[in-house]
């Protein structure tokens, strides 16, 4: 049932995949999502309705359709990109649509007096966003961005669809080679727990600390 030998063989292998692929995808994907999410949130507010409506539809469409299908489409459509690159880009864009919602909620929580004051001072739009709205909005948004980053981390195994050698893909290969999946899958699950639970607790603390 449980063989210590296989367990000790699986740990370094999966740790390597965890650090080299899973973490890299999460960090780069989060960077893309944090930036693009803000772009969507601001663009939908600032663009003329004729452009904002299709953009909003596209963002909603991406958010309401499954990540594995997006991965497969982009993987086959852009042959020249490596699977890892496709994985980072697609997961980043997918989660940017969630983060756009978080930013939107944060922006909407700003009282209208702030906008009016900026207008009264005839601040240009860029300065209104940079100096007045975003510093307040992002404070409200930060914990939920963190939660989406954790969710993204737990979705990295979806990259198995385009055969990126991340941790769970490797765990399945390892299991296949040794005709038993018990040790490798346990290690993969435990590594996920060890990484995501403390981060989630940290986010909860941050949320309490930032709450007015």
């Amino acid at each position: 049932m449980w063989e210590n030998e296989l367990f000790f063989e699986a740990v370094p292998l999966l740790l390597e995949a965890f650090i080299k692929v899973t973490l890299v995808v999460t960090v780069l994907g989060t960077l893309i999502a944090v930036v693009l999410g803000l772009v969507w949130a601001i663009a939908v507010r600032e663009l003329p309705p004729l452009l904002a409506a299709p953009l909003r539809f596209l963002v909603d469409f991406i958010r309401m359709t499954p990540l594995p299908v997006h991965l497969l489409v982009i993987y086959y459509a852009f042959n020249s990109l490596s699977a890892m690159t496709v994985g980072i880009l697609v997961i980043g864009v997918h989660y940017s649509t969630y983060m756009a919602e978080s930013y939107r909620a944060g922006i909407e929580s700003i009282r209208s007096g702030q906008w009016e004051a900026a207008t009264a001072l005839s601040l240009p739009a860029s300065r209104t966003w940079r100096a007045v709205i975003l510093p307040q909005a992002i404070r409200n948004t930060l914990p939920s961005l963190g939660n989406w980053a954790i969710a993204m981390f737990k979705d990295t195994p979806f990259l198995i669809f385009i055969s990126v050698p991340e941790m769970v893909t490797r765990a399945r290969e390892f299991g296949g080679q040794h005709f038993t999946y018990v040790e490798a899958m346990t290690v993969a699950g435990v590594l996920f727990l060890l990484a995501s639970y403390p981060t989630a607790v940290l986010m909860r603390k941050l949320e309490k600390k930032l709450a007015y």
Partner: protein
């Protein structure tokens, strides 16, 4: 362009046949298990004695903290080895999806129970209502109205989650689209699949919203309060659905826990 449409015409029957069936079975089964798991774990976390609540908490954190795909493989590869019980692909998918999203749902249930005003709990105590009556007649109808927006989000997540069931050898829409790709080309196959997923999500979301309105009206709330509650829920759940769905901290008032 006409290639594209003839491709779609070839792809649709297969996507809407076997593929749609596998996706819908996983979704419907997963949704039933999800709601059951969420209600049981959420109630236990909120109402049961501490030692039992801790066990429920551990289960919730286990399923929220590890990944859906890991759990799917665990039920598919590891449980049969350890217990000798082979669930088969369909049940594996249903149970893994239901438990994973149910763990998130437990937080929605717990958060909603927390958000039922304290006075409501105190009144039932003052009237010395039995626990079952209290829940059925006073607390649950109010909590139910609060938790439906959270479940709405989780249902959409669950539909998207069913796209992983091809990993346990079910021929769902994603799998069929990948097969059709060779025959009809990339875009006709996958765009059709995406639109089908989108439409399922829209339908489910609309039904859930109708349910929300109904639950609110049964509490005697008008359209204004319904919109208000929806906005509140959207605020709580923006960014919170996946990692922190409706848990006590995220906006829901922390009161009303009757002990």
């Amino acid at each position: 362009m006409s290639d594209f449409f003839s491709g779609v015409a070839t792809a649709l029957p297969r996507l809407l046949g076997e593929g749609l069936l596998a996706t819908l079975v996983s979704f419907a089964g997963g949704a039933v298990v999800m709601v059951l798991v969420a209600v049981v774990l959420g109630l236990v976390e909120h109402q049961a004695p501490a030692w039992l609540a801790v066990i429920a908490r551990v289960i919730v954190e286990l399923f929220r903290g590890s990944s859906l795909v890991v759990q799917l493989f665990f039920f598919f590869y590891v449980i049969p080895t350890l217990t000798g019980v082979d669930l088969g692909s369909t049940w594996t998918a249903i149970i893994a999806l239901g438990l994973n999203y149910g763990a998130y749902g437990a937080e929605v249930v717990r958060g909603s129970l927390n958000a039922v005003p304290r006075g409501q709990w105190e009144t039932t105590t003052a009237l010395s209502m039995p626990w079952a009556t209290k829940m059925r007649r006073v607390i649950w109808p109010q909590a139910w109205a609060l938790m439906l927006p959270g479940f709405n989000n989780l249902m959409v997540m669950l539909i998207k989650g069913t796209a992983v069931v091809s990993l346990v050898l079910l021929s769902d829409i994603t799998f069929e689209a990948d097969q059709l790709r060779r025959q009809v080309g990339l875009w006709p196959a996958f765009l059709s699949a995406l639109v089908i997923y989108y439409l399922i999500a829209l339908v489910v979301s609309t039904v859930m919203r109708w349910g929300e309105g109904r639950a609110q009206r049964r509490l005697g709330l008008g359209d204004f309060q319904i919109r208000q509650a929806r906005r509140d829920a959207a605020k709580v759940l923006a960014g919170a659905a996946a990692a922190e769905a409706g848990s006590g901290g995220s906006g829901a008032r922390r009161e009303g826990r009757d002990t």
